[in-house]
Symmetry: D2
Subunit: 327 residues, 4 copies
């Protein structure tokens, strides 16, 4: 059996990666069995405080519709396909009378039913902590081999089922910079985040989900091109210290992969390595931040109760979700 060496060496930027890992890794911080990672920063106090942000009774979704018009181009991942297994047209044509099973005559009762086929990471999503590996391991040092065709025995997305309620803070970097969208290749820096927060009059606290708007999704909607995997603005690798110091619980953006593309060093998606694999930070990707961006600009309130529950799909590497900002 041929096996890749599971020590990563010889790539440009190796020093900085090792330095960040050494300084900011959360492996073992919450126990050797921990599968929640940075979500441990969210405790009862944070949840209660976040609920206190609900003052207007307004709910804004940050999720793109799940359908064939999504950003995927096939091959690596396809768009969601929802198929009807019972329809109103069947019903009108008499195809549902009598009812299935032993349910008897219909007396005009009818129904619609459907089946969805979708890559969990095809649209608005949470990456689970089993989604990315480095040097043979996922978060907290769990062996990558625990993720087999039968799913993830550790760090599956279902572990987050009661955790995705917290304070959300929108850092609308694009709006702060006065552009519709940051340019592909633009690396959002810690200074950008601080300046945006300052301009918005909001501060980032322990247990927050930081939601960063680059404007890319709005610009590419319905003409996606290379939105998935191509050049994109996004978080700089060098925001890792900022994310750690602010004890952020999660991060989400309106891009395919949270971090800037092309990557800043030779390693693919290096912020995933530092922040997701070592800090245990869930990444929210392909969030539609246009409505929340407009809303926050209008009322000047950039913080909200974030309810962004994962579906508890046993052993999954990620999950679709309906991310709600409740103000």
């Amino acid at each position: 059996m041929t096996q890749t060496s599971m020590t990563a060496t010889g790539f440009g930027g190796e020093d900085i990666i090792r330095d960040y890992i050494a300084k900011y890794s959360n492996w073992g911080r919450w126990g050797e069995d921990d599968e929640l990672g940075a979500l441990n920063h969210v405790g009862p106090e944070q949840i209660t405080a976040a609920a206190g942000l609900v003052r207007q009774g307004k709910v804004i979704s940050m999720t793109l519709p799940y359908d064939l018009f999504g950003p995927q181009v096939g091959a690596f991942r396809a768009n969601p396909l929802n198929m009807m297994t019972a329809t109103g047209t069947d019903y009108l044509n008499g195809c549902q009378d009598p009812l299935p099973a032993d349910w008897g005559p219909a007396y005009t009762f009818g129904f619609a039913d459907d089946v969805i086929v979708m890559p969990n990471q095809s649209g608005t999503q949470w990456d689970g902590l089993c989604h990315i590996f480095f040097e043979g391991k996922m978060f907290n040092g769990f062996d990558a081999g625990l993720v087999s065709s039968k799913g993830a025995a550790k760090c599956g997305i279902e572990k987050f089922r009661q955790k995705m309620v917290m304070r959300g803070v929108l850092l609308d970097v694009a709006r702060y910079k006065g552009v519709d969208a940051l340019e592909p290749g633009y690396a959002v820096t810690a200074a950008d985040l601080d300046a945006t927060a300052a301009a918005e009059g909001v501060e980032v606290r322990t247990g927050d989900c930081v939601v960063v708007r680059t404007g890319l999704l709005g610009q590419r909607r319905a003409k996606w091109g290379d939105y998935c995997g191509g050049p994109a603005p996004g978080m700089s690798l060098h925001t890792a210290p900022w994310l750690a110091e602010h004890e952020v619980a999660a991060i989400a953006t309106d891009t395919w992969g949270v971090e800037v593309r092309p990557n800043e060093i030779e390693l693919f998606q290096p912020l995933h390595i530092v922040a997701l694999v070592h800090m245990g930070l869930p990444f929210g990707e392909i969030w539609d931040l246009e409505p929340i961006g407009a809303d926050c600009a209008e009322d000047g309130v950039y913080e909200f109760l974030l309810s962004a529950a994962t579906l508890p799909i046993t052993g999954a590497a990620g999950s679709p979700l309906n991310a709600l900002a409740i103000k």
Copy 2:
């Protein structure tokens, strides 16, 4: 073309159905274009008040895991099947180096990915207002023919994307009655609901989601038998007036189909006809109410902020969800 007559006649119980529809239908109440139905009862005031119920910072999921161990037996609907398209075992074996696309050498970067195939109504779910038809129509009089193989042009589940945040009230009828689970065939009455609420010290208000625990799911877990579609305790058809008078926004239970089975009259699922089709009440089914039941019994608090977002699957008849009770 043969077509079923779309006038329902000649079934036992026709009079009562027509009476309830005449008295409680919400067709046109919120405009002829309305696709939200009883969710219109939830306004900013209700949402803000519901958020005020978060006092302990506790999150409890009412969703069953989505996997092959769910209650479905195939044929009509199957259990969710999550398939891995990239695994840690592949990665450890060197199969992900180099990376796909033009992403270059892996330097031990690896990933897991997956695709889910699931009937939207196979596990914990919301029924959308296009899920059920009667006399050729769905809620608000929309023609059933608007639900074709391409999905629902009206009343698709995506219309609820910003609506499923409200006050939740658990009415633990099984616990109130002192049983593990109500018997199959037991019809929960309005009197049962009132007595349970009184015993719990909670009142049902405009815009609430009433969550009714029968105990059946807990009893059948992992040995489902005929849980799907077979005899079950559940809401009596005659709770329709109670639901209307309390201006309930939604209802959810721990059974396959909310209402008692066998049905009380000759029409299949008659409460669906009155409450879902005519009142526009979303039905939550196969909710796992064991944890919330235990928690409420312990702290004596039967009300909570319910965050139960649907996935915005365009044109879908229903949706999986992670229903969160936040206290």
Copy 3:
């Protein structure tokens, strides 16, 4: 309920369509219950004679691989997606020991398993006789309403399960014309077919499958562009009389839709209307005719035993297949 009028009028070319239907329709020809259509031209005599063409013991597949590199671009139809539910990498990593179910210790026994998700018409395919409707009917006058979400109650592809063995004749029109591929928009005429057959020294007989090579698939392989649904060479509508007079049992080409695109009259895919719907001729589409074209050119033998079995998918509108030319 809004319903399309099921009488087709007012389109350019209506006269010719009605004329061809009047002259060549096979509705009722083989009984009012017939679901086999032109395949009735294949009897024991034809099968035995076709088997007599096997002289070299050579088998050539005319099927494109089923995988993500196929011609589809998503939305209308996607390419086949095969997902592994058990892998060798899992096995090597110890994930299959002990075996599933109660099959005990593995003693190094291991296995691979997979699930395919594919539109039946996404690659090399047979169209069934329920695939196309005109004026509310499919072949033999069966009502289109017999094809519901539960599949086709009449003319489903499973009806062909014992029929797709016959004589195949390759008419390599592209090679006859001395081009790599006929131009998009080029309508293959009856004269082209006759001239090609004459040049090849082959004659078309009752019960044959006529296999027409345009060269388009070979030209577009791996750079498909608008291969699916875009301009293409193909059979002229005016080959309908030729197909009828030769008592052809089936037709197949190396294009998306058999007939020339853009269509020659205002009706979409008019040869489908005449030949598939009214003559009951199964259409083979997206066949890879490059290997058989080269082989026939080399040995000068353009006839073969065609074994092109449909999968008996109950109620399906079409089927993938491995079309074998046996010489």
Copy 4:
């Protein structure tokens, strides 16, 4: 990384397994790159001779319909699910006018389309040579790690695309023994095979597919019970020498797994290990042999041209097929 030791020891029957492998393995026999295994026994001479068996012009399918009424019970594998993405009922209701894409007005043109989701091994199937592993290897010594989530890089089912045409011989052991079906646990011996062949007046030759009828499928149809994986009659492990000596190219039965269950030694499916993994013999499973059994009994002809093409699903471990006996 924990890894299973890939040396099999300590199980009852180890000696006989090692003996059979030593004597009958075909690893290297047709070159170190060979992925066809025993199908190499089928050459032009065998194909031509097999075609010569077609004397009556009769085609008999040995494939079970692919639908929800198949033998699977879910979890390990589900039955095929075919979903309609366009229907006649939609069409009649006017939902297909205008046509999709830029195809214009329908003028009553309509269509049906569908998508199948099925485990490749859920119904009548061929097992590919990558389906089973032993001591870390598949046929011809290829490393099991070549079968990843991306499919089989070696011995995928698509390698058989031009090979599944050969002489088929039905050995109707159940009929020979005078029973409807052999008993679960009954191990068909080499003597049984010889006696059956003698009674039928047929001999097994190099390059044949031996088709063994136990009667189990006929007995269990529509009331499958534990047909999949439970006790079953089937080939004895000790037929391995017989299969090797007769230079059989493939074997198929009307049971879930070809060989007798419970297995005769402590190793799971030991004939798979000897015959599929080491001899390179494709296994055909869940074949419906009732019609061919009746036909052969009637005409006394137990040999035929077998056309049993695999779908060329790239990298798949197995394939559905329509197995045709042509007489």
